[in-house]
């Protein structure tokens, strides 16, 4: 929101410049008229001379007019561009197993360019300059469909329609998304088209997307002819007298992934190595239910959660790294409490089981994870937020994974948003 204020201030100052020019124009006319009057009063100029002087000044005023028009044109173009973004500088301290055990790095450094071509047409480009990588996060166009009020068409690379995915990293109360979301929606974005319907009269939101389905965060290139479909619907109930708002929603993913290897590991981990497997499609289908409750109690609090289950397919390339099909499940639950205007406390518990058909020793390396995250946010001002975050994951143990991994992480992040 701040960027829009800044943008408006910029526009206002530019408009002031234009008005200054208009004032200059008025002053020029006034000077010309006064000069004429003065000359006329002194009767030192003939009519022809007065006419000539007038023509000269008219010419100058016309030239000034042209310059003002040019400036107005430039101003109109500039006012269509909005610039926003954020930088997240982070310190992480790992419990064990990483080298180095602690490090400073830039988690995210994003600049978002939004160009509003006309009412109802918008282009967005958002590169990310994190430590060690440069990538395009968003690159899309949004068009209001004429005569279909409330329906927009999105085309390009944008967030997949899911609550935690679409919840901005600059707003999120803990440092990273839950494990299940990071696993099934790597890189958060996808390339494709999306229809979004937000009616004026109902607190409803419908999203329907057709996507390549192969985005991994690093690789954006499509690898098969089939496209994946995603759908999400949310409905909001408000109880304004009680200060309570409840959002309910569900989403589904209906897609597939082509195998580029003959080595397929099935739901129970059995390896199939028929050459006909190359080019075969395997289902990626899951459903999720979500709820967010907001309560205006002592500064505001919320409870948010989502449960997702279904079957997933992940690419492989060899016997040791086969293409995998798995039934999975996962959920997350947040409790967030605002403390005054500047502080916020958050706890999240999340669970992810990458293979629900196997457990104990049969699961081998595919063990389930539970993670407790505790975080504190301090909003120094409207631009700066300081976050302290502690992640405590617990993994399932068996004969292969014999103990809980020492993978707790303490993180401190300073975020500057503009």
């Amino acid at each position: 929101m701040k960027h829009s204020c800044n943008n408006m201030q910029t526009n206002l100052s530019l408009q002031k410049m234009v008005f200054c020019k208009i004032d200059l124009k008025i002053i020029s006319i006034a000077i010309a008229v006064l000069t004429m009057c003065s000359f006329y009063g002194q009767s030192q100029m003939t009519d022809d001379q007065v006419q000539e002087q007038l023509k000269t000044h008219e010419g100058k005023i016309d030239a000034l007019d042209e310059r003002v028009l040019l400036n107005e044109g430039d101003l109109a173009k500039l006012s269509k561009i909005k610039l926003s973004g954020y930088i997240q500088a982070q310190y992480s301290h790992y419990q064990e197993g990483t080298d180095p055990l602690n490090t400073f790095y830039i988690r995210r450094a994003r600049v978002k360019f939004t160009y509003k071509a006309t009412d109802g047409v918008k282009f967005v480009l958002q590169p990310d300059f994190s430590t060690g990588s440069l990538s395009i996060k968003d690159a899309y166009a949004v068009v209001n469909i004429p005569r279909l009020n409330g329906i927009t068409l999105w085309a390009g690379q944008f967030n997949r329609p899911n609550y935690e995915v679409e919840y901005s990293s600059s707003q999120r109360e803990v440092l990273e998304r839950s494990k299940v979301i990071r696993s099934i929606y790597p890189g958060e974005r996808e390339i494709g088209i999306k229809l979004e319907y937000i009616p004026d009269a109902f607190p409803l939101k419908l999203q329907l997307a057709m996507l390549n389905g192969n985005f991994t965060g690093k690789e954006a290139k499509d690898v098969d002819k089939k496209k994946d479909i995603m759908a999400r619907a949310t409905y909001s109930f408000d109880l304004p007298d009680a200060g309570i708002g409840i959002d309910l929603g569900a989403h589904g993913y209906f897609g597939s992934l082509v195998s580029q290897t003959m080595y397929i590991s099935d739901y129970e981990g059995r390896l199939d190595s028929m050459s006909a497997n190359i080019g075969s499609f395997y289902d990626k289908q899951w459903f999720g239910g979500e709820m967010q409750v907001f309560f205006d109690f002592l500064g505001g609090m919320s409870l948010k959660g989502e449960y997702i289950m279904g079957k997933n397919a992940t690419a492989g390339d060899s016997r040791s790294n086969p293409f995998k099909t798995r039934n999975f499940s996962g959920y997350y639950a947040y409790f967030i409490k605002n403390i005054g205007k500047k502080n916020q406390f958050a706890v999240r518990y999340d669970h992810y089981d990458p293979n629900t058909d196997l457990s104990g020793n049969d699961a081998a390396k595919e063990v389930s994870y539970n993670t407790l995250t505790v975080a504190w946010q301090y909003y120094l001002n409207e631009n700066i937020r300081i976050s302290l975050n502690y992640d405590k994951p617990w993994n399932e143990t068996n004969a292969t994974v014999t103990e809980d991994k020492k993978d707790n992480v303490l993180g401190v992040r300073v975020q500057a948003k503009f």
Binding site: N144, Q171, I198, D200, G245, F295, G299, G300
Partner: protein, 277 residues
Amino acid sequence: MKKSKISIIIALAVICFAGAAFLQQTKITVKGSDTLVILAQRWAEIYMKQHPEVSIQVTGGGSGVGIAALINGTTDIANASRPIKKSEIEKLKSRYNTLGVEIPCAKDGITVYLHESNPVKELSLQQLSDIYKAKITNWKEVGGVDAKITLYGRENSSGTYVYFKENVVRADYAASCQTLPGTAAVVNAVKKDPNGIGYGGAAYAEGVLHCKVKKADGSTAYLPTAENIAKGMYPITRYLYMYMRNRPTGDLKKYIDWILSPEGQKVVTGVGYFPVK
């Protein structure tokens, strides 16, 4: 002796802290709608005279600017001449985990301004929509002279812009519509342009012709007078709002209660708007 000195120092410190707390003014910041800014300033002046312990700072900028300030924590009250948008409620949810609190505080009739020389005296909502969509581009199409219509409007941060778009134009504004910063600027532009048309709050409309507006072609056209707005006859009537992050408490609640009291609502009429109670 030493003990009594310490006691005196402690007593003085307590008195100083108590005095500082007593002298400390409660500061309330109000930001937003340019339509509401005159009314909000008048409310603040009267209330501060009656309650010197409260300091109220009022600034304009537009409804969108006010709500943005509410979201980023730089204002206590956001004034808006349009209802809060769903996207803005989402931002309040994510930052404060609340839905915000909406308080309708006055009613206003959006006035359509024409140049005083314009022979057109009334327009229907459909004609206004077609004019601002650039479907109608010449005054002769609505009974005026053969001249191109010049459109003036507000910036998209304005609540009046949003309200007029959603309730009158019901589509995107024509690209030829010139956006101006503030209703006063729109009035000024129309005052100077014989072919101009603009819109804004009734409280600003001086030196321009107030266009009568009718719901449909066959309906009676009405001027945005107090009586027509109070009776619901004038078709472009809207509420003006105040928004807060949380349900108000303490001095903020007292101020809101005063605004909604008969005394506060009397000020609404004095400024040229219409009371909600």
